[in-house]
């Protein structure tokens, strides 16, 4: 591979050979996209098998399933699923599908592969971070799966992991020991990977667009990935500290979520007044946007596929984009509707109910635009377009029930029934998976250079479409009939009358799952032996169709990409009814052609992308500390065990040190533009400034440790009470930022000594260090106010 930058530097996605660097540790965004796709495929296979086991057990509770006893001799003795094992399967199914399929496939897999290409970039903004992000995700997957094989097996607390069940340890039941701990660790790791991914996506979209690619010229897929990344950034920044708190409750004896006086198995739990509602508050701040994180990329994919199939643009490109922005924005102000029945203030329920209803407006606008655009179009019926149409169908079928659940009075009845299961499976699960299928059939030729078999694709669609309705529509009936969810068996006479429905659903689930073998066969066969694909088999317009199928390792082969028009120019006169984004119009063909101009690939400005990346990271940190602050406020008000203590005076001295270090670093930064490496006096000054920053930072950390020890010597331990827990936690969180900053100062100094320090590096580092100082001032203020 050989991309050359304007100054002769090679781009990152090239020149590495060998199996490891080509297939496992490649920096090429296309390879990483494929890795995410395969990881999602593994996760969905495991998740579907788990759902089969659950459905078989619900329909025939005493049936012995061959081989299951080997997987878990205690959970499924002689192959018969126990109630606890049913809950473990439910937990693992939900976790795998929500995190490792619905979050990964439409965003990380397709986004990694196509976002840079669709904006005319050769690579992601931070390729190494991208690689790291994938392998951290893989680690999270391995940790989650390993919970199947530890003593007690997987957790039984569901994918929402509600405390106190998830917080009190092995005494709460099988799977609540090591299995639950592994689950939380896995999710925390996943959060880190998702945050790194979102930083990359946002910086790439903002800074790596090729010439002519204005925001409004970006395809809808890019908009969807960009908005989803912004949502991911905020949502996972809150879930991460929530996981920390839950882990601490389990292993450090703190009391964030476990209430006082809790007796389990005749044993009084040693916790002192935590609030289970606090977990709901933090978890659903992530959980509800997660629904849109799963569905928005699919909306973008469906729009993209439909336009190419209809041969005309949507009725309003802008309305869809603004609606997606509105969905992203509103998704953060309605998480409380998951707590309608938790007993929170009814007026709070009202505040959350209104935006829950309002968010249906942009969703409805998008749906109406899809349907309006389809009306009268000459739709090309392909596997991709069928799945796009199927997406609209299940999105509406699932969405309509959301209107009912948005009403607190109705939700009170329906909340814990199969009605909710039908709702979220259709709107979040099936719809998003239809979007993933649409994307797979549409982009497979580009990714592999081969076409998928269309008749098999259409057969796959019809089996899946009909099967999905057979599975999930009866759930509404079961819910309205009062069938409670999460129960592994229905023994009451009232529930027995619903068993035929359950058996029907189980048969439909097994059949629909088996129908996916058609897809897997098509995928595997076509990958190797499918018909060769041209560079633009769908006559589509966006940039990915202007390069060969599959793309070269350097997508645009080192040439500049200049975009001259909107992404969806269909319905043209002439031999072709479309104009690619890089093509020039017939009327312009006498003028110098864009396509023939091929100057060298201009590498993006390091200053711009590093600064964007740092600002996005800072946003994530702000959200993390906002979550901790929110938790502190709720926990402080939840019980009478809040202990007031005097902050060590050393902290004020530390504050002075950190503020001075920031001022000195700023002096170093401001003097740098005039810095000439050959000028020994200036070099010495810069080294002195940075060394003082390093020294003050180290002294700050030492001071924090001394303050910690001082409090410990006074008998105030981490788990003594919520106030001390939050004190130590906030100090640790901010201290970790300083520690990373110190490593960065050492790196900057090393570069300076070797005369390789760049101004953008110093600017970016300074930004980080000043943020760290500001963060400490914030933490100190919070501690002073609350402790």
């Amino acid at each position: 591979m050989s991309g050359q930058s304007s100054k002769g530097q090679t781009t990152t996605a090239q020149t590495h050979t060998g199996f490891l660097r080509t297939y496992l540790f490649s920096l090429d965004h296309k390879t990483i996209g494929k890795q995410y796709f395969l990881l999602s495929l593994c996760a969905v296979l495991v998740g579907v098998v788990f759902s089969w086991l659950m459905r078989i057990h619900l329909a025939w509770p005493s049936l012995s399933i061959p081989g299951l006893g080997w997987l878990s001799s205690t959970g499924a003795p002689q192959g018969v699923i126990s109630p606890e094992y049913y809950l473990a399967l439910m937990t693992m199914h939900g976790t795998l599908m929500v995190f490792f399929v619905l979050t990964l496939a439409p965003l990380a897999a397709f986004g990694n592969y196509f976002l840079p290409i669709q904006i005319g970039a050769e690579e992601m903004a931070f390729p190494r971070l991208n690689l790291l992000s994938f392998w951290i995700t893989f680690l999270a997957f391995v940790v989650l799966i390993s919970s199947l094989f530890v003593t007690g097996g997987s957790p039984i607390s569901g994918w929402t992991a509600y405390p106190p069940l998830s917080a009190v340890g092995a005494i709460a039941g099988p799977g609540e020991g090591a299995g639950q701990t592994l689950w939380i660790v896995s999710i925390a790791i996943f959060c880190v990977a998702s945050l790194l991914g979102s930083i990359n996506f946002i910086a790439t979209t903002l800074d790596l667009r090729c010439e002519g690619m204005t925001l409004m010229r970006m395809p809808m897929t890019v908009w969807a990935w960009f908005i989803t990344s912004c949502m991911t950034l905020v949502a996972f920044s809150v879930l991460l500290p929530a996981c920390w708190l839950l882990i601490l409750d389990r292993i450090a004896g703190t009391s964030f979520f476990v209430p006082a006086g809790l007796v389990i198995s005749d044993q009084l739990q040693p916790h002192s007044g935590g609030s289970p509602l606090l977990w709901q508050h933090l978890f659903w701040f992530f959980g509800h946007p997660e629904v849109y994180i799963a569905i928005l990329p699919a909306m973008g994919i469906v729009s993209h596929v439909l336009i190419a199939s209809m041969r005309r643009p949507m009725l309003s490109h802008k309305a869809i984009i603004y609606s997606m922005i509105a969905i992203g924005f509103l998704s953060y102000v309605l998480w409380g509707h998951h707590m309608f029945v938790s007993g929170m203030n009814p007026y709070s329920a009202l505040v959350f109910s209104l935006p829950t209803l309002v968010i249906t407006i942009p969703s409805t606008i998008i749906t109406l635009i899809w349907i309006g655009s389809l009306y009268g179009s000459k739709l090309r019926i392909t596997s991709a377009s069928l799945f796009a149409l199927g997406f609209i169908s299940v999105f509406v079928s699932g969405g309509v029930s959301g209107f009912l659940l948005a009403q607190p009075s109705l939700d009170t009845y329906l909340h814990a029934t199969y009605f909710v299961v039908g709702h979220f499976h259709l709107i979040m699960g099936v719809a998003a998976i239809f979007g993933i299928f649409a994307g797979t059939y549409f982009w497979f030729p580009k990714m592999t250079g081969r076409m998928m078999n269309e008749p098999l694709g259409k057969l796959h669609f019809w089996l899946t479409f009909v099967g999905s309705y057979c599975i999930f529509m009866p759930f509404y009936y079961l819910g309205l009939a009062g069938n409670v969810r999460r129960d592994s068996q229905f023994v009451s006479a009232a529930m027995q009358s619903l068993m035929p429905v359950h058996k029907f659903i189980t048969i439909a689930a097994l059949s629909t799952g088996a129908a996916q073998l058609v897809f897997l066969y098509n995928l595997a066969y076509s990958w190797r032996r499918g018909k060769s694909a041209s560079s633009n088999p769908w006559d589509a317009t966006s940039l990915e169709w202007s390069i060969p199928s599959p793309p070269a390792a350097v997508s645009f082969e080192g040439g500049a990409v200049i975009v001259s028009r909107d992404p969806y120019q269909y319905g043209m006169e002439g031999a072709h009814d479309f104009l690619g984004q890089r093509e020039k119009a017939v009327a312009d063909r006498a003028t110098p052609a864009f396509a023939t101009v091929k100057p060298a690939y201009a590498h993006p400005s390091y200053a711009s992308i590093s600064k964007t990346g740092m600002w996005v990271f800072i946003a994530a940190s702000i959200m993390t500390f906002a979550a901790l602050t929110s938790a502190l406020l709720v926990r402080r008000g939840s019980a009478q065990d809040w202990q007031i203590f005097r902050l060590p005076l050393l902290l004020y001295f530390d504050t002075a040190l950190l503020v001075c270090s920031s001022v000195i670093l700023e002096l170093a930064r401001r003097s740098f533009p005039r810095f000439d490496p050959s000028n020994t006096r200036q070099a010495r000054m810069a080294k002195v400034f940075l060394s003082i920053t390093l020294l003050f930072g180290a002294l700050f950390l030492g001071g924090q440790a001394a303050a910690w020890l001082q409090l410990r010597s006074q008998g105030l331990a981490f788990s003594d009470g919520p106030s001390s827990s939050f004190f130590y936690l906030l100090l640790e969180g901010q201290g970790a930022h300083v520690l990373v900053g110190l490593i960065a100062v050492a790196w900057v100094l090393d570069k300076l000594y070797r005369s390789q320090l760049r101004k953008p590096s110093l600017d970016t580092f300074s930004l980080y260090w000043h943020f760290t100082t500001t963060l400490w001032l914030y933490v100190l203020a919070i501690l002073l106010i609350t402790i």
Binding site: S6, K7, Q9, T10, L27, G120, P127, Y162, L206, D207, R209, C210, E211, T214, L215, F226, C230, V234, V238, P259, L277, Q280, H281, F285, F329, Y332, F340, V341, S342, G343, M344, N345, P346, S348, A349, L350, S353, P408, T412, H415, A560, I562, A602, P604, S605, A607, S610, W615, I622, A626, S630, A631, V634, G637, S638, D676, P677, R758, K759, P760
Partner: protein, 94 residues
């Protein structure tokens, strides 16, 4: 309609987590106030971050990678600072 919905607010205690219900039902006004504060603390940062990202996107709406690099090169050449120009065109591998 909003006014009608506001007027029809009723307590929504029912099924769901019995422990949550018990805890919330027995909660003091202090806890309800704390929960409200906790909600507000989590509402505002996303709004600010969204506004920040929207501003950044708007400011960069017509800025492209190539022209960005070119403008920096021209700025560098204006300043006559060849050292900086060389540094800024170094490859990015983070």
């Amino acid at each position: 309609m909003a006014a009608a919905v506001l007027c029809s607010a009723v307590p929504a205690f029912a099924q769901g987590c019995a422990l949550c219900y018990t805890q919330a039902a027995s909660a003091s006004a202090r806890f309800i106030h704390a929960l409200r504060s906790g909600i507000l603390v989590l509402v505002f940062p996303p709004l600010l971050i969204s506004a920040g990202l929207a501003t950044a996107a708007y400011r960069k709406r017509d800025r492209f990678r190539a022209s960005d690099a070119q403008s920096e090169r021209s700025a560098d050449s204006r300043a006559g600072d060849t050292h900086q120009a060389e540094l800024q065109n170094t490859n990015v591998e983070i």
